[in-house]
């Protein structure tokens, strides 16, 4: 790659990666709900951008140019920024930037190289949750080695239905896992299952959103690029899960990461097959037989055909709430919460905006670097030309000046591109938190649906009580009792009891979710403040460091050409 590339392919490569980036980056979220879509597009664009930088960080060598000044220096190791390279003209002056480049960037550099950096212990989810992990806790997840596999059973299409599995390797020192390193093979469907089960078990928590399903043609599914994008996305997702203080300890995650062979979690289709049960229940429900909502069911929101009647009731309740007819028995009284909710909404908007502008800033830096590089190249060609054709000393002098400018431009161009790669990694925090907003939405909707369940049960109870009262009143008028009515009253009383229990459980669930919301909000706020401050610091440090480097490069040229200004006046 380095040195032997001829100019045209180098340039073409530059243009290709830029185009690639443009195609992916120009996708803008139209509203917050689409945040994840462009978010993941952006992320993949950024990662491909970061990746393509490696070959480009070698400067363009002019063909057949044996000038030592123009041979590319080896890829600079940030750990030793002052290591003398074999390129003698390229000595890094010690600067502020060298002193304060944090290990954070070292990891970033290694990431570009594709090297696993063991130092990223508590940073398993990247930028986030630096403050969550306790000192010695360590969970590191890697997703690699995508492979095509064949669907063995139920193949409707003979020879069709291939899917991709990924190797998921976990390294951890948390006790309670079998050993410190283990691997499993999982497919994307398994990830969806994991995500669905977590959503059920951890209502009220800010659960990191899983990668999109990407409904595309099976042809596209197989393509290298798509598989790679997905691999990266899966890794990020699993790392975020492992970074969540509560979820990392979940059974679901443990099982996902450890159990070999088929994932032993009920899939969503299994859950949906309860639709069949629901189909049986439905006629009973419709004909008014009082089928109480079983207490164990209220811990989940009503969904699917099995809970048709419950959905119906809750819908009625929510409409009643909206119209403000009868004041719902339990309201969202927590003013604090409502304030926070609004703030979250506001934050999401500003994050989205900032994220977009960060994109355009990155593009601006990218373009600057590219054009500077092209300018340098053009001058290198001119220098060569003048030297070859030189008849007069003035030409040689001019060629020498030009070469200085060209070399500086090429160096500056490289610096801009490195600056940009780092900037991407820093400002990525904005995108990460924007993505997190989805999980906040999820947690808040867990809360409102739990509340709705409680409200519905309360209304239900009050109407049941009313019926019981009526029946009792009617029955007491008949001397000796009305056997059928008495039986009905008994049944009703039973229903009331069950419903009371359900209400109890539902209220308990609601309170639990409320508490989860609260603690998560607090955790989010804490972590976000820390992460953003670190982001700002990293971003600023980065800008300072590279600006200094660029300044030095040009100061040298200014010095070398200073004779001209003295002469002209």
């Amino acid at each position: 790659m380095m040195g032997s590339e001829n100019l045209d392919s180098e340039e073409a490569h530059m243009y290709a990666s830029r185009e690639e980036m443009e195609n992916l980056v120009l996708d803008e979220p139209s509203n917050n709900n689409n945040g994840t879509k462009s978010f993941s597009d952006y992320r993949s664009a950024m990662s491909s951008l970061a990746d393509t930088h490696h070959p480009l960080s070698s400067p363009m060598a002019a063909p057949a140019d044996s000038d030592p000044l123009l041979t590319p220096p080896p890829f600079r190791d940030f750990r030793n920024p002052n290591v003398a390279t074999d390129n003698s003209s390229y000595i890094e002056p010690p600067s502020y930037s060298d002193v304060i480049f944090s290990p954070f960037d070292e990891n970033a550099v290694n990431e570009i190289n594709g090297v696993d950096s063991p130092g990223r212990s508590s940073d398993s989810s990247g930028f986030l949750s630096k403050s969550t992990s306790s000192s010695s806790d360590y969970v590191k997840i890697t997703v690699s080695n995508p492979q095509k596999e064949q669907e063995t059973s139920n193949s409707l299409v003979p020879g069709g239905n291939t899917y991709v599995t990924y190797l998921i390797t976990t390294r951890t020192n948390i006790p309670g896992h079998n050993g410190s390193e283990f691997s499993v093979r999982r497919r994307f469907k398994d990830v969806v299952t994991l995500s669905d089960r977590l959503a059920e078990s951890y209502r009220g928590f800010f659960i990191p959103p899983r990668p999109d399903k990407n409904v595309v043609e099976s042809q596209v599914m197989q393509k290298q690029e798509f598989v790679e994008q997905r691999r990266v996305a899966l890794e990020k997702y699993l790392r975020r899960l492992a970074g969540h203080p509560v979820i990392r300890k979940s059974d679901e995650l443990k099982v996902f990461l450890q159990v070999q062979g088929k994932l032993p979690l009920p899939t969503s289709t299994d859950v949906a097959s309860r639709m069949l049960d629901g189909a049986v229940k439905l006629p009973k429900q419709l004909f008014g037989e009082s089928v109480a909502v079983a207490p164990h069911e209220v811990v989940q929101p009503a969904k699917g055909a099995r809970d048709l009647l419950r959905i119906f009731k809750e819908l009625k309740q929510s409409m009643a709430n909206d119209w403000g007819g009868s004041k719902p028995p339990v309201v969202e009284e927590d003013k604090e919460f409502l304030k926070k909710k609004e703030r979250m909404h506001d934050l999401e908007q500003q994050l989205s905006n900032a994220s977009q502008q960060a994109e355009s800033l990155v593009k601006g830096q990218q373009d600057m670097g590219e054009t500077m590089g092209e300018l340098g190249l053009a001058f290198i060609k001119l220098t060569k030309f003048e030297n070859e054709e030189a008849i007069f000393n003035s030409q040689r002098a001019r060629a020498a000046d030009m070469k200085n400018v060209a070399t500086a431009a090429v160096k500056a161009s490289r610096f801009y591109r490195e600056l940009n790669a780092q900037t991407v990694k820093h400002l990525d925090t904005l995108h990460e938190y924007l993505g997190l907003m989805l999980s906040v939405h999820g947690a808040f909707s867990d809360r409102s649906s739990a509340l709705l369940t409680v409200q519905t049960l309360i209304s239900e109870l009050s109407s049941l009580h009313l019926r019981a009262e009526k029946l009792e009143a009617a029955s007491s008028k008949i001397f000796g009792g009305d056997r059928s009515r008495i039986r009905k009253i008994e049944e009703l009383k039973e229903t009331i009891r069950v419903t009371e229990d359900a209400k109890h459980v539902a209220t308990g669930e609601y309170e639990r979710i409320k508490e989860n919301n609260r603690s998560e909000l607090e955790r989010l706020g804490r972590e976000r403040r820390a992460d953003f401050l670190n982001m700002l610091k990293g971003f600023v440090l980065n800008q300072v460091g590279y600006a200094e480097k660029i300044a030095n490069v040009w100061a040298k040229v200014a010095e070398e050409t200073s004779a001209y200004t003295r002469e002209s006046t």
């Binding site: 600057m368 300018l375 007069f392 001019r398 000046d401 401050l533 610091k537 600023v540 200014a558 200004t565």
Partner: protein, 400 residues
């Protein structure tokens, strides 16, 4: 504006009436838009300060417009064959309507450089047309300007000359003398190739320089947008973090302004000199064409003379009474031929001097441009570093 010394090639300065050194310094200033719509144009105030005796006085101010400069350039091109006439900025008709401040300033700068280069050229500075340009009143200038446009304003004798040339060229083609006659001078061939290739390289460099200006503007814009977004985010976050975002946003906006300024500097001091270099090379191409014409003319006359010689000998042998007439014709042609040869050789001589001067000049011009470029980039980077660095103490404090 450059103050120039009068120089005569080789000899020392002759004593002048004034005790100070001879000087001719010109400023093109104060562009003013006149006229409306399609008729709109820009007028400039041209101020001449000199102690040359040929001039009317120590200072003279006239009003000129772009086409006056074109007139001057064309006259010099006609009269001083072989000299690389300084180039003019393009006659862009599209931008004229828009008349952006940048365009006006660039043009003014280029015109200023144009006249001063003429004033500092040892031959051109003595031109009568230059004096006319710098001193004549506006009406005279307008009259002169409208005379010079196009072939239809040429004098009848010139027209005949052109017609004759065309005739010979046509007959040459008809007679099968296909290729136009060219010098077989290897050094000159090399020079021509050099000039043509140089233009390509320079155009490319200039194109990228222009793009670089745009990139500065674009980066400035995105910094401004980013700054605004950061401030809004800061307002949302509040407390220390909010303040940090807000400070970042403010700095970002400051740097945006700085970048726009640098874009302008870059345009004026780096991209424009490169463009000027390209124009200069194109002017040389015009001179090369002139030389080719002169050479062809000389060759044609040489051919014609040979034929006439043969004819004359024939007539002399046959003792024809047409001998006298033929002899006269022959003498005339001989004189013309000698004149053509002289003119051609003069062009060659002048060009050789000019190419040295050109290379020196360009090394100087580009040296200055490179210096400005490097200084500008260095200053910009330092400003950027300083601005961001000023945020660090507070950020450190927040994080500790």
């Amino acid at each position: 504006m450059i103050t120039v010394q009068r120089s005569s090639s080789g000899s020392s300065h002759s004593p002048r009436s004034s005790s100070s050194q001879p000087y001719l310094s010109i400023s093109v200033t104060e562009p003013v838009k006149l006229g409306n719509g399609v008729q709109a144009y820009i007028s400039y105030r041209v101020i001449t300060k000199t102690n040359f005796p040929e001039y009317q006085g120590p200072e003279k101010i006239v009003i000129r417009r772009y086409s006056d400069f074109v007139w001057l350039r064309d006259r010099l091109f006609e009269k001083y064959k072989g000299v690389f006439i300084p180039p003019l900025p393009e006659k862009s008709t599209v931008e004229k309507f828009r008349f952006s401040a940048e365009f006006i300033e660039l043009r003014r700068q280029a015109l200023d450089i144009f006249v001063n280069r003429i004033a500092s050229h040892h031959e051109l500075q003595q031109s009568e047309d230059l004096r006319t340009f710098l001193q004549a009143d506006e009406e005279t200038m307008e009259r002169l300007r409208s005379q010079e446009t196009g072939i239809f304003k040429k004098k009848p004798a010139d027209l005949m000359q052109i017609f004759k040339e065309m005739q010979t060229r046509v007959s040459d083609v008809v007679l099968g003398k296909e290729k136009p006659v060219e010098e077989s001078n290897p050094e000159y061939e090399k020079l021509k190739n050099y000039i043509f290739e140089l233009e390509n390289h320079l155009s490319e460099a200039q194109k990228h320089a222009y793009r670089l200006v745009k990139r500065h503007k674009e980066l400035g814009q995105s910094l401004s947008d980013f700054g605004k977004a950061a401030k809004l985010l800061g307002a949302c976050e509040g407390h220390a973090l909010g303040k940090a975002f807000s400070d970042l946003g403010t700095k970002s906006e400051t740097l945006s302004v700085r970048l726009q300024k640098e874009a302008h500097q870059l345009l004026m001091n780096f991209e424009e000199p490169l463009k000027d270099y390209v124009r200069a090379v194109q002017s040389i191409k015009a001179t090369i064409a002139e030389r080719a014409n002169a050479f062809r003319h000389q060759c044609e006359l040489a051919e014609t003379i040979k034929l006439k010689e043969i004819n004359l000998d024939k007539l002399m042998l046959t003792r024809s009474d047409k001998v006298g007439e033929a002899e006269l014709e022959y003498k005339e042609l001989k004189a013309e031929s000698e004149e053509a040869t002289r003119r051609f050789e003069n062009i060659v001589r002048v060009m050789n001097e000019e190419i040295v001067r050109f290379q020196d000049q360009k090394t100087q011009d580009m040296g200055i441009a490179f210096h400005q470029f490097a200084k500008g980039q260095s200053r910009l980077a330092n400003n950027i570093a300083d601005a961001w660095r000023s945020l660090l103490p507070k950020l450190e404090a927040c994080l500790s």
